[in-house]
């Protein structure tokens, strides 16, 4: 009995020692960061630029390199994201080789989990990772920037001399002229369709409204889902809603919600939701969509269970020969949502987003700052932008030479570029415009609409109510 107890006690002491060791480690990291940072005077250009190259270090201890880790939260997980992950991995490797002692600690989290659950909680608690995937807009980058959680990148951009290289895409990451995040690339949202299925049923490409509706009806009659969709995360069906609003109410409506010039419960916006509800009623979308994930949508489309899907242009790389959608490689085409009858505004306008990018914690020590600078230098370079375009089909967020863009050979990606080129205007996604509470309300209400628990008018009224409250609070 006695023996047993002693061993239990010993075990518990050992356990707490392990635990203490763990916590202690962490303290070491933090502790080491502040007082001894100046010691680290690293030979790399970017690090010494942080100006604290202390003379003492260079005098006595030349080869002493302090090891440190920098946490990096990314969303490039799973098969479809593998091209983007490869680019990130190369940037990480390059940056680690440039900054002595640096080790990135990568943490891959599913996109919407990061954006809507993890990051908000960490921002509230003030302990975000040092480098993290960040979306632009009032609900994300701008909100966190105003609360002082994000690193002001303006001096770094000036130092690296890359600010002017960005296209006009930094607004949604900026507050009062200061830049707090950098979009990795851009995308537009439109219709992917399965050309094999379309020719099988003698359908025209869905470039006009009538052809689109006819295609959808024909597919539905043949027990093929017209539009694959996975609405468990409501951001997915919200893509189509956004473009429908842009078509029916005009492209100016979307920025207008926040300024008060457009209303969610205006007849136009309600008509867009009505259109969506009608399609829902006609069975245009995947059955059981509210239980389907975003990944299921691609699977259904690749398996030929669905003829079309409304998705972001980033998906084009999934249909390469060595990607998840290889089964239908070469049988996919991309078009913009066609002009809506009686729609307002420019009917050739397409949605264009430069929303997804990286942000950086405001709480960095000198070492971490050096790492962040090197990361930005390597990630936002001509080389990586071109690789993003060619390997992953992401539209560049920085200027690329015409010669570079001419290297695009992938036919699907060319179609995406053509759609953008022929667009009269572009409009943003409302998720980067409206306040986060409004955006989450659009998700809640859209799912209710899909479930048949709310009418388009009720949806519009409910969202506008939150919009009014948020607009009033902003004043």
């Amino acid at each position: 009995m006695k023996k047993k107890l002693t061993s239990v006690l010993a075990a518990s002491v050992a356990m707490s020692a392990v635990l203490a060791g763990c916590g202690g480690n962490n303290d070491n990291n933090n502790g080491a960061a502040s007082p001894s940072a100046s010691e680290s005077a690293s030979p790399s250009a970017s690090a010494s630029a942080s100006a604290s190259a202390s003379p003492s270090a260079s005098a006595s201890e030349p080869a002493k390199v302090e090891n440190f880790t920098v946490s990096l939260r990314h969303i490039q997980i799973g098969e479809p994201q593998k091209f983007r992950k490869a680019i990130l991995d190369d940037v990480v490797k390059k940056t680690e080789s440039e900054v002595p002692g640096l080790k990135f600690e990568l943490d891959g989290v599913e996109d919407s989990v990061n954006r809507f659950t993890k990051l908000p909680a960490e921002m509230a608690a003030g302990n975000p990772p040092k480098v993290f995937s960040l979306f632009g807009g009032a609900g994300d980058a701008q909100k966190y920037a105003k609360a002082g959680r994000l690193l002001d990148l303006t001096p770094i951009l000036d130092e690296l001399g890359i600010k002017d290289k960005f296209l006009n895409v930094l607004d949604s990451f900026s507050v009062d002229g200061k830049v707090y995040g950098l979009p990795i690339g851009g995308n537009t949202e439109g219709i992917f369709y399965n050309t094999e299925l379309f020719s099988k049923y003698n359908l025209n490409p869905p470039t006009t409204w009538d052809d689109l509706v006819k295609a959808a009806d024909t597919l539905a009659q043949n027990k093929i889902t017209p539009f694959a969709v996975g609405s468990k995360g409501a951001w997915v069906p919200n893509m189509l809603v956004n473009t429908l609003i842009g078509r029916v109410a005009g492209e100016a409506a979307i920025p207008g919600f926040k300024s008060g010039e457009a209303k969610w419960n205006s007849p136009d916006a309600v008509a867009a939701y009505q259109l969506y509800a009608d399609w829902e009623k006609k069975g245009y979308f995947t059955k059981g969509e509210l239980g389907k994930e975003y990944g299921d949508m691609l699977n259904d489309f690749v398996a030929g269970k669905a003829g079309m899907m409304f998705d972001g242009s980033w998906r084009n790389s999934a249909f390469k020969n060595d990607a998840v959608g290889a089964a239908i490689a070469g049988k996919v085409a991309y078009v913009a949502l066609p002009a809506v009858p009686n729609g307002k505004g420019d009917q050739t306008a397409v949605n264009a987003n430069y929303g997804e990018g990286y942000g950086f914690s405001a709480d960095l020590n000198d070492n971490e700052l050096a790492a962040v600078k090197a990361f930005i230098k390597n990630m936002y370079s001509d080389e990586m932008q071109l690789r993003g375009l060619l390997e992953d089909g992401v539209l560049p967020s920085m200027q690329l030479s015409d010669a570079s863009i001419a290297q695009v050979t992938d036919p699907l990606l060319k179609q995406v570029l053509d759609v953008l080129k022929s667009a009269g205007k572009t409009f943003p996604h409302f998720d980067s415009v409206v306040q986060s509470k409004v955006y989450t309300e659009t998700e809640t209400q859209l799912q209710k609409l899909i479930a048949g628990k709310a009418t388009p008018q009720q949806v519009g009224d409910a969202i506008q109510k939150v919009q009014d409250a948020e607009n009033a609070a902003a004043k």
Binding site: T117, P120, A124, K146, K232, G288, L290, G291, T444
Partner: protein, 293 residues
């Protein structure tokens, strides 16, 4: 003896760590919950005192009301459907000699597994295309049911999984009580010619009454605690149809950044728990002896 066991310093040594932890992780958070609950705190900006607004809003909030309702459904399902089934199954197991140990071990097994992993597992059972359940129903010619995707099925699916996980636990609890009943009572009744069902209903059930009350109490507490399974399986969806109070509180706080409102909701959940405990004490446990200090 008197001096040793009255030494206040030793007493302090024994009690202080527990009391300190208790204050830090129970009393202090309870106080801060109350403080946060009266503010509009969003986790990012300074918080402002807004009086009772959060509480007023909570009762106007249709989503929150429906989450209370969902908790109530879970509670009623556990007490009115699960508990009778649990009693029946315990009686069944108590009546067999062979395989008794096997049945006991097997039905108990799910209750030691992590709820979140059970949530993942059942997510696949419910999958409309590859899932076991639809494939099974398909054998009888039943069309695919979108278990977790349709509001009318989703709550039922959660209830089923929850029952799958916990019923065995309660069965073993009651079984232990049944097996603890002296054999001679049962044998006497058998000689009097009472059938198995009669003996179960008139003899065994009244004798295990106290433990049934415990099971009811644990079911009530369990119904209020349900949150992991909802977060893992549906996240409260589709369209809020499986949202329970705790998951709604977590979502409001974390996703919407409404920490003030979330704290107010947590206070309301606490009050509801207190009311249910009081009701239980008054209505069910009234006659039962309680552990008194």
């Amino acid at each position: 003896m008197k001096t040793t066991l009255k030494n206040p310093y030793v007493y302090m040594l024994f009690v202080a760590p527990t009391v300190a932890m208790y204050f830090l992780f129970f009393i202090y958070p309870t106080i801060t919950s109350f403080v946060f609950g009266f503010t509009d705190w969003d986790g990012l900006n300074a918080r402002q005192f807004i009086g009772l607004d959060n509480f007023v809003n909570a009762f106007k909030d249709a989503e929150f009301r429906s989450s209370i309702w969902n908790n109530l459904i879970i509670l009623l399902f556990s007490c009115c459907i699960q508990v009778p089934l649990i009693i029946v199954f315990s009686l069944l197991i108590s009546n067999v000699k062979r395989f008794q140990g096997f049945y006991k071990t097997t039905v108990f097994m799910p209750s030691i597994l992590s709820t979140s992993i059970i949530g993942i597992l059942w997510g696949y059972i419910y999958d409309p295309d590859v899932g076991l359940l639809n494939n099974f129903l398909n054998l009888f010619g039943i069309d695919p049911i979108y278990w977790l995707a349709e509001p009318k099925w989703a709550m039922f699916s959660i209830l089923l999984t929850n029952a799958w996980q916990w019923m065995g636990f309660y069965i073993v609890l009651i079984l232990a009580a049944i097996l603890g009943i002296p054999k001679d009572i049962d044998e006497a009744a058998m000689i009097d010619g009472a059938t198995g069902v009669q003996r179960a209903w008139y003899l065994t059930v009244p004798l295990i009454r106290p433990i049934i009350n415990v099971v009811i109490m644990l079911s009530i507490a369990g119904a209020l605690r349900v949150v992991d399974i909802v977060l893992v399986m549906t996240g409260g969806g589709p369209a809020g149809s499986t949202e329970v109070m705790a998951s709604y509180m977590v979502n409001k706080a974390i996703k919407y950044g409404d920490y003030g409102y979330g704290s107010a909701l947590s206070i309301i959940i606490f009050v509801i728990a207190l009311i249910l405990t009081a009701l239980y004490q008054l209505l069910i446990a009234r006659r039962q002896e309680r552990i008194e200090y």
